[in-house]
């Protein structure tokens, strides 16, 4: 089975890595789009530093939005496990990522067992899981949250809030209220408004937010990036030291504006990568054929399937080890990146 290609020509992993290393060395402004497990991110960020690259989550817009709350405002949060055991009122705000819907359904159906337990009240802004009472004011979640926050704080909103009295009663009765959200279902300011709702409730009662990231791997990558460089993704090493700029190092923008001259894409996902024709590219992908328009393709396996992996889990709120479901000899994304790093001149 082929492991790597230069153009459409089958080569060994080492040959592909050598070619990739040459391209990285020759590039003046390489950019990385990353999607992978924690070890893949660790390897990729070390490579980015060595070659002066900027890096971003693959399709990093939603991650940037999820991160903005933590860089710009802060939050009161609760771990998912603690929510499961304690929250007797759960509010699902906006749409949830598909990956989280299953266990969230299970969670809202199970009773809390701490603090005397009892049953859970469930509310939603938007369609949520389809169950629970709807809180609504206006057309979107951002409008509803604004009206809700105004009303809960004893101020006026221009539009009435549906089920506000029921929600008030539930809040009053609740020992602990959890608001579940995702960057996929709320915009940046909507998330900040939600933060405000939670902060207001905490003046007298307990409540917290639970982020279910649109992509668990993206959030894991953000954690790795933050400890390795001090910054979340959209960080660049163009000047040697890490610089963080969510606008400047938006890799899609850098490509669109013609700033980047080499694109390294790391994706352990199953969907085919669509690379622009004109861009010089290195693809590290879960694929059995060369990626269209890639100068170099290195085939990798899937994290947690072909190889053991450490990943962020929005179900536990921290990193977990995922054993290989079907161990294979495919390279991991980390190994592929390390092959390239080893081929760099010292």
């Amino acid at each position: 089975m082929a492991v790597a290609w230069i153009g459409n020509r089958e080569v060994t992993g080492e040959q592909a890595a050598r070619r990739a290393a040459e391209l990285l060395v020759a590039s003046s402004c390489p950019v990385f789009s990353l999607n992978g497990d924690v070890h893949a991110w660790r390897a990729a960020i070390m490579l980015a530093e060595r070659v002066g690259a900027a890096y971003d989550q693959l399709d990093g817009g939603v991650l940037a939005r999820e991160l903005a709350l933590f860089t710009g405002k802060g939050a009161i949060t609760v771990a998912p496990g603690e929510m499961r055991r304690r929250a007797d009122c759960i509010v699902i705000v906006g749409e949830l990522p598909a990956v989280s819907r299953g266990w969230m359904k299970e969670l809202v159906a199970s009773p809390p067992d701490l603090s005397g337990g009892g049953k859970r009240d469930v509310f939603r802004v938007g369609t949520g899981l389809g169950s629970g009472k709807e809180i609504a004011a206006g057309d979107g979640a951002a409008q509803t949250l604004a009206a809700l926050r105004a009303q809960l704080s004893g101020r006026v909103s221009a539009v009435p809030v549906k089920n506000i009295e029921a929600f008030r009663k539930a809040l009053e009765k609740a020992a602990y209220t959890a608001f579940v959200y995702s960057g996929a279902g709320l915009d940046e300011l909507g998330i900040e408004m939600l933060q405000g709702v939670v902060a207001d409730i905490n003046k007298t009662k307990r409540a917290a937010m639970v982020l279910l990231p649109a992509s668990d791997d993206a959030w894991g990558g953000a954690l790795v990036s933050t400890w390795m460089t001090g910054f979340a993704p959209r960080t660049g090493f163009g000047r040697g030291m890490p610089e963080y700029d969510p606008w400047r190092f938006d890799v899609a923008r850098m490509i669109a504006d013609g700033e980047a001259d080499l694109h390294l894409v790391m994706s352990a996902g199953k969907q085919a990568l669509a690379l622009p024709r004109k861009m010089n590219a290195i693809a590290i992908a879960h694929t059995d054929k060369p990626v269209t328009h890639a100068a170099v393709t290195i085939r990798i396996g899937a994290a947690g399937v072909d190889h053991e992996a450490v990943r962020y889990s929005s179900r536990t709120g921290t990193l977990v080890l995922v054993e290989a479901a079907k161990p294979s000899s495919h390279l991991s994304a980390m190994s592929a990146i390390r092959l390239i790093a080893e081929a760099l001149p010292c």
Binding site: G72, A150, A158
Partner: protein, 269 residues
């Protein structure tokens, strides 16, 4: 003494950090020192001399004879003098500016006037997103001074603004005046959705009735007030408006009631 003029030799191969090419820094340097300033942001490692021909010796007056969307940080932290770009600029023009005057004859990129605290920035063309706003992690945006955008502004103009005045001539994107702490934002033309979202205090003046206001804003009628006349007069005197906009009894909404509720949106009555 003649103005220091930077003439572009060729389109820059990378984004340039021009934050040091301001009167306060240039006044200390000789021509050859200026030419050695590192302005590259990637492995190209451009220096001033690679990209620009430099002439002139009056650091109080700096001119870029042509612009580029890759000119970042033009006018950063300037405290006095004049800087003029005969073309467009990239991100963060006028960032942390404290005084003097900065004129961009073309468009400006995102974060123009970011955290500016004094002086005057005029952009003849359009401005990008987050005009006057803070960079990631910073808690307040523009803190003073005057910004005039003759064209349009992108999303979230005046984000987290604390003081000063921004006037935009031809409309803005969504969430104008988001999270304003105080200060004044004037948008002529059409503003996008939900101006003033999460604003605590401050004034947003709109040329047209907003199509979508957040429910956190509640209409407070159109009482006759003196402030609108004061603002109109100043805007006309400054050449920002040709004629008074608000009149004596503008329509007013108070908000954002989701937060403090001490801000306001005005439209001509």
């Amino acid at each position: 003494m003649s103005a220091i003029v930077f003439t572009l030799r060729h389109e820059p191969p990378e984004r340039l950090d021009l934050s040091r090419l301001v009167p306060d820094v240039l006044v200390e340097l000789t021509k050859s020192e200026i030419e050695k300033i590192e302005i590259g942001t990637t492995k190209y490692g451009s220096r001033v001399g690679d990209i620009f021909r430099v002439k002139g010796n009056n650091a109080a007056n700096v001119v870029f004879e042509a612009g580029s969307a890759r000119f970042d940080g033009v006018g950063t932290g300037m405290t006095s003098g004049e800087v003029r770009v005969a073309g467009e600029v990239g991100a963060q023009t006028g960032r942390l500016m404290r005084g003097g005057s900065l004129l961009i004859e073309g468009d400006a990129g995102p974060f123009a006037a970011s955290c500016m605290s004094g002086g005057r920035l005029e952009v003849r063309g359009n401005a990008g997103d987050r005009l006057g706003g803070p960079l990631a992690g910073e808690m307040a945006g523009m803190k003073g001074g005057v910004v005039i955008i003759r064209g349009r502004a992108g999303e979230r103009a005046a984000n987290r603004m604390r003081r000063g005045l921004i006037a935009v001539g031809k409309g803005s994107g969504d969430y104008a005046g988001s999270r304003m702490i105080a200060g004044t934002l004037v948008v002529l033309g059409k503003a996008g959705a939900m101006p003033g979202y999460l604003m605590r205090r401050g004034t947003i003046v709109l040329g047209k009735t907003p199509t979508e206001l957040s429910p956190g804003f509640v209409e407070t009628g159109a009482p006759e007030i003196a402030f609108s006349g004061l603002l109109d007069r100043w805007l006309v005197d400054e050449g920002i408006l040709d004629k008074p906009l608000l009149g004596r009894a503008p329509r007013r909404w108070g908000g954002d009631n989701a937060v403090l509720g001490l801000g306001e949106v005005f439209v001509k009555g």
